[in-house]
């Protein structure tokens, strides 16, 4: 999957993961919120990218890589402040239907079972990418 220009603003890199791709976002000035903490908007952006990456991989595995998808909405929960560390994120497709995909994503720093933030996204799937 090719990340959009916005991912570069966040400094996000992507690698193949077990199941969905694993995304990493380093701490730095460009993602800073209140002093010493990652901006909630940057965390939300990272989670959205992780959800999109998970969906793209799932569509490809289903032989549907030609379809288009648009986000309908996102709900983000912030559990902890993101500190001066690398933030990781991975999405999971909960259900892939013919018209709607329900996807969740989690972000963490030191340990995966201590999430920094999580998101749920609903996507509208269109017949083909050009539609």
């Amino acid at each position: 999957m090719i990340l959009p220009p916005y991912a570069k603003v966040l400094g996000v890199t992507i690698e193949a993961g077990e199941g969905a791709p694993l995304l990493s976002m380093p701490f730095g000035e460009d993602v800073l919120g209140r002093p010493g903490f990652v901006h909630g908007g940057a965390l939300a952006g990272l989670l959205e990218l992780a959800a999109i990456a998970a969906l793209a991989v799932e569509l490809e595995a289903a032989g549907r890589e030609d379809v288009g998808y648009k986000p309908i909405n996102v709900t983000v929960d912030f559990m902890r402040g993101g500190r001066d560390n690398m933030t990781f994120a991975q999405g999971r497709v909960v259900r892939l239907g013919s018209r709607i995909a329900n996807v969740e994503a989690a972000a963490w720093q030191d340990a995966r079972d201590r999430p920094v933030a999580s998101a749920r996204m609903n996507f509208l799937i269109s017949g083909s990418a050009s539609a």
Partner: protein, 146 residues
């Protein structure tokens, strides 16, 4: 007796705030009232999320609405009390037109002691035809004097 929290001045806050993620996105102050604030997100090719259609990524719109609603809470509280976003839900009503500046308007419609309830919209020129709708909550992170 504890020192009262400092008053909050959005214009000063943003003139001093050309740093961090908001600064990188180019988010700036537009207007405010007693319980609301409007901020702008100028279009930039850097912020494209859909290369084929040239559409702004949704992440910067979430960041804009997070900041506009956050400022609305400080305005309604009439004090700069530190808080953290508890949750945000954003509905993407339609894509932003390529090249347009996006305005985010946040409102704090209920202020409890620790939790603030917010809502708002983002539009790309016409507030009656918004591109996104937001609802969320913030929670104070320090101690609050009633």
């Amino acid at each position: 007796m504890a020192t009262p929290p400092p008053k909050f001045h959005p214009r000063m806050f943003f003139s001093a705030r050309r740093y961090g993620h908001g600064g990188r996105l180019g988010i700036d102050y537009l207007a405010h009232g007693p319980d609301w604030c409007e901020l702008v997100l100028p279009f930039s090719p850097d912020l494209i999320g859909d290369v084929g259609r040239g559409v702004l990524a949704s992440g910067p719109v979430v960041a804009l609405l997070d900041m506009a609603t956050s400022v609305a809470v400080w305005l309604k509280r009439d004090a700069f009390v530190p808080h953290a976003t508890l949750d945000l839900r954003v509905d993407y009503l339609r894509p932003a037109a390529p090249g347009r500046t996006v305005t985010g308007r946040g409102e704090c419609y209920r202020l409890a002691k620790r939790v603030a309830f917010v809502r708002g919209i983002a539009h790309d020129g016409d507030p009656d035809d918004p591109i996104a709708h937001v609802a969320g909550t913030f929670m104070t992170t320090g101690t609050v004097d009633a």
